[in-house]
Amino acid sequence: MSDGPAPASALQEFRDNLLAVPGRIVATAFRSGRPVTDRARSSFVFGNVFLHLHAARTHRWSLRWATTAGLGIASVAAFLITLVTGVMLMFYYKPYTDVAYDSIKDIHFVVPTGRFMRNIHRWAANIMVVTVILHMARAFYTAAYRAPREFNWLIGLALLVTTLGLSFTGYLLPWDQLAYWAITIGANIAQSPREVTDAIGITATFDIGGLQRMLLLGSDIVGEEALIRFYLLHVMLLPLVIAALMAVHFWRVRKDGGLTKPADVNARMGPAPSDVYPVFSEMPAKTYHLAAVVKGRSPAVDGGPEQTVPSMPHLFYAELGVTMLTLFVCTALAMVSDAPLKELANPMVPENPAKAPWYFLGLQELVAFSAFMGGIGIPMIVLVGLGLIPYLDREREGTGDWCGGPGGWPLVQRSIAFGFSASLIVETIVIRYGWLREWFPDIPQLVITAVNPGTVITAIYAAYSLWLVRRYNSTRAGALGLFTCFLCGFVVLTVIGTYFRGPNWQFYWSPSDWPGH
């Protein structure tokens, strides 16, 4: 404090310093002072380790609700909610087969607010799956995967897979009948390459399916080894992976200049309203020479900074708002609907029908014909197809607009109609008339592996998409059609698997028609 009055003595100085400690701690913790001016706020965001992932200023386009619908933030919020409630559940949960079920019962019936926390955890996990899928759809329909964001799309796909993995590993932990048989199905799907290796007779030497199942379960059966594996994956490994991927995902969003914006965004937004604080009204306190050296251009090259507002508080209102909304939805659902807990897992009594978690029921619908195609083939085709989108569609038209690109919304509408009809027609044939096995009982399984409802629907969609590419002379049009069809097929198969399949995977209009127990 060189500018203060000179202290009378060292003792006096000691006393003054002591009295100044609380103030100094605050001042040194938040070095930019109270964030009352725009510059101080920007500096605050810039200098805070938790906030600096945000740009100091945010484009007004990004704050429109229609731009993202807050789906990415909702996914993060759901993840954070599962994280907090999950840690709370870990205090009471015991991952051993003889006590796991009882500890969940304790959480549900004995631990104060335990049931509430478990319900929130369960709902947040499901909401996370939904928002992640919708977030992907948003990124696709606004063509946000285009340069320079191609690789971030791939990271997003990895996040989707990790999210499903987190949800799936959590499914086993209650160790009830629901969990046990869902995981049994999952493990059998992991083993499904045997369908192919059996058919060509190399299972004895090259048993990739058995190996996958063994890696997943750590044993031949769903037992203690599987439980501890799933527990470790659920509470440690996958959260670390997803946290790392999320960090990269956000970092790249930040480095790629925030959200995708249409080329003419500034013109569309019009002049900033009067309450938006004007840029550069204060003397700049920093130069951006270093950024210019590294990136070869100054940060303002992409557009006029006049359309930006300070991230603090404008972006933070939006982010916190979405976070609280997500929390509200999770809490409300947790209050009206309890997380399921069936009877203790009993390997002697198979559930019928045994169903995987809902987001895998579309696949399980396909697994009924070919475990390999339904469980591994089709998902791989879908993932590879999704991953290739940014590299195959390198057009610029329509970036940042919903359903942007040739064809636009009418094309998406037609694709919705086509996607639903194609999958519904194939499913109708399957349900009404059966499939190859019913028609030719002696047919080799390899033929069904190649020709089953899953591959047929996939082929129809692919052909439709190629036709769109030719018709509109645009890869974006093909991508729009294919992605829309994929979503429609996912919905149709998932709904049928969830609501219309009963014992022995027979079709029933309603569970009340199931043969009674």
Binding site: L63, Y317, M324, L327, F328, T331, A332, L341, L344, N346
Partner: protein, 549 residues
């Protein structure tokens, strides 16, 4: 941008509202609080507070009295909806709590959790109609006899009209208008409290000196009937339904395969704590009705192998009332570990002094251990997929079999069949029990031990000749080496050691009417008659079977 501000405000307020609602629901709107708010004591409303009966020795902390306030200690006067005082019982709820007898979750404070109506709950409350099954939590012994004796005792008590003066289990007892009470004492619990064994003499003396009133109607009672009255009184322990159920259990032969408190066979699961099974861990795929332990037991008794895949228990063909009784008794097998100060005398007699849990007469023993396989009357039994169980009380068998053969067969069993050795120290049957069983078989078959005029081994026939005859006439049912198939095994060490030659020879000659075993002294459509010499040769051959198959 203001939109986002509003979003934050509204959603935050929404979360706050939800959390406050949850807090209010969990703290202020609880079922028991609302019930207590409507209750009234003599001097006005009662304080709304969590109430509980705690007994650290029994490890109970029962909050049931938070809703059932009037059942709590000193709260009988409380009135209101749901407020009924507990009926007077031996075990004061103020001391023993509620869950000790009724089961359920004492610490729970909602009806669903406390009564165990929650799905897949491991320890639900006992069904109200079966709450006497709760006695089995601590009590084990009761001198309950075989069902026929039990019913006869009850019928005798009724026939002698004892109930006109005495009250038993809430029935009977004449009210005297002048004295305002019963003529005789309430006998509902004399099985525990004891009764005057000289009651008959006392009654006679009183009747003799009476000049008026009901005493004049007392008539002399025969010795047999007095014994039955005593037997009836011994079972009056305040749980009439449980006693009746136990008498059914004791005549259904369950102990032949199942152990209860260390007594019984071990073909089937030990039933000592069957009433504490976790109902959530059972398979209800073929159980009609709701998912409850009682329903599971009912279905299981009727058709064991459809409920438990691979069960070797034969289906019990019995009337619904008996199924109900067995279910009821099985539910009562709860056998909690009880701290010493609360260990009931009856259980102490069983656990510390080796007393039988039930009457140890031959009829009861036969009913409890043997009737399951050999039939209630020893008539034998056939169950699908099992070798036929022999008719042990068949007079043709018993008139030839010596007591030693029968007793030794019970003691050492029949190796290779489901008849186990009952005296190997693990079944709880004593030598005295075996003797009682032999006497019972004599009584059932109406035979006496055969008088032996010849030595045990007299057959001097040619075993080779006997073997040839055996191969032609006997091996079809008894097996080429006497190992048995449709008919019992003969190459059986216990049989060969203790059966006399007379037993074999006479059985061959007379056959066993009612079974596939013909009398070979007479010709039939498929074989000629065997001469005495040929029979002797066969007996000699049987002796060479050596007891090893």
């Amino acid at each position: 941008m203001a939109k986002n501000k509003w979003l934050l405000l509204v959603s935050s307020l929404g979360v706050l509202v939800l959390l406050v609602t949850a807090a209010v629901q969990e703290n202020l709107l609880l079922e028991w609080q609302q019930i207590q708010a409507q209750a009234r004591a003599e001097d006005g409303p009662i304080p709304v507070q969590l109430r509980q009966v705690v007994n650290p020795t029994l490890r109970t902390a029962d909050r049931c009295v938070s809703c059932h306030v009037a059942m709590g200690p000193g709260e009988q006067a409380v009135t209101g909806p749901m407020m009924a005082a507990h009926r007077p019982v031996v075990h004061d709820p103020a001391e023993f709590g509620c869950t000790t007898c009724h089961g359920g979750q004492g610490r729970a404070t909602t009806k669903i959790d406390a009564h165990g109506a929650a799905e897949f709950w491991p320890e639900p409350m006992l069904p109200p109609a079966m709450s006497e099954a709760g006695c089995g939590t601590c009590h084990t012994q009761a001198d309950v006899p075989h069902r026929a004796a039990f019913n006869l005792a009850a019928a005798t008590f009724a026939r002698l009209d004892c109930a006109s003066c005495h009250r038993v289990d809430g029935r009977g007892g004449t009210l005297r208008p002048d004295a305002g009470g019963m003529e005789g004492p309430d006998l509902s619990r004399v099985g525990i409290a004891g009764w005057n064994r000289e009651w008959y003499a006392a009654h006679l003396a009183q009747a003799k000196s009476a000049v008026s009133g009901p005493w004049q109607s007392f008539r002399p009672i025969a010795d047999d009937d007095r014994g039955r009255v005593d037997a009836f009184l011994a079972t009056r322990v305040g749980a009439p339904r449980l006693m009746a159920a136990k008498s059914v259990f004791l005549s259904s032969g369950c102990l032949g395969c199942h152990k209860v408190n260390g007594v019984g066979g071990d073909e089937g699961p030990d039933l000592t704590r069957a009433g504490e099974k976790d109902p959530a861990r059972l398979d209800y795929a073929s159980v009609p009705g709701g998912r409850s332990l009682a329903n599971w037991f009912r279905a299981h008794v009727r058709a064991p192998s459809t409920v438990v895949a691979g069960s070797l228990m034969p289906a019990m063909r019995m009337p619904d009332a008996d199924v109900e009784a067995l279910t009821f008794f099985t539910l009562s097998l709860r056998r909690r570990v009880v701290p010493g100060t609360y260990l009931p005398r009856d259980r102490m007699r069983v656990e510390r002094f080796g007393a039988r849990e039930f009457a140890a007469d031959g009829t009861t023993l036969f009913g409890a251990f043997c009737a399951g396989c050999h039939g209630a009357e020893g008539e034998g039994r056939r169950a699908p997929g099992m070798k036929p169980f022999p008719a042990v009380a068949h007079p043709d068998f018993m008139s030839l079999a010596s007591d030693a053969l029968v007793a030794e067969t019970i003691r050492r069993g029949r190796p290779g069949t489901r008849m186990r050795a009952w005296a190997d120290g693990s079944t709880g049957l004593t030598d005295a029990d075996v003797t009682a069983l032999v006497q019972e078989l004599r009584r059932m078959s109406g035979t006496r031990a055969p008088a032996e005029s010849r030595p045990a081994r007299w057959a001097k026939g040619d075993p080779a000749e006997g073997g040839r005859l055996f191969a032609g006439a006997c091996s079809g049912c008894h097996g080429a080496k006497g190992e048995g198939s449709e008919a019992p095994a003969l190459a059986n060490p216990v049989l060969l050691e203790h059966a006399t030659d007379t037993f074999f020879a006479e059985t061959i000659k007379r056959g066993r009417p009612g079974t596939a075993m013909h009398g070979f002294a007479q010709p039939s459509t498929v074989h000629r008659a065997l001469s005495d010499a040929e029979v002797e040769a066969i007996v000699s051959f049987i002796r060479t079977l050596g007891g090893r198959s």
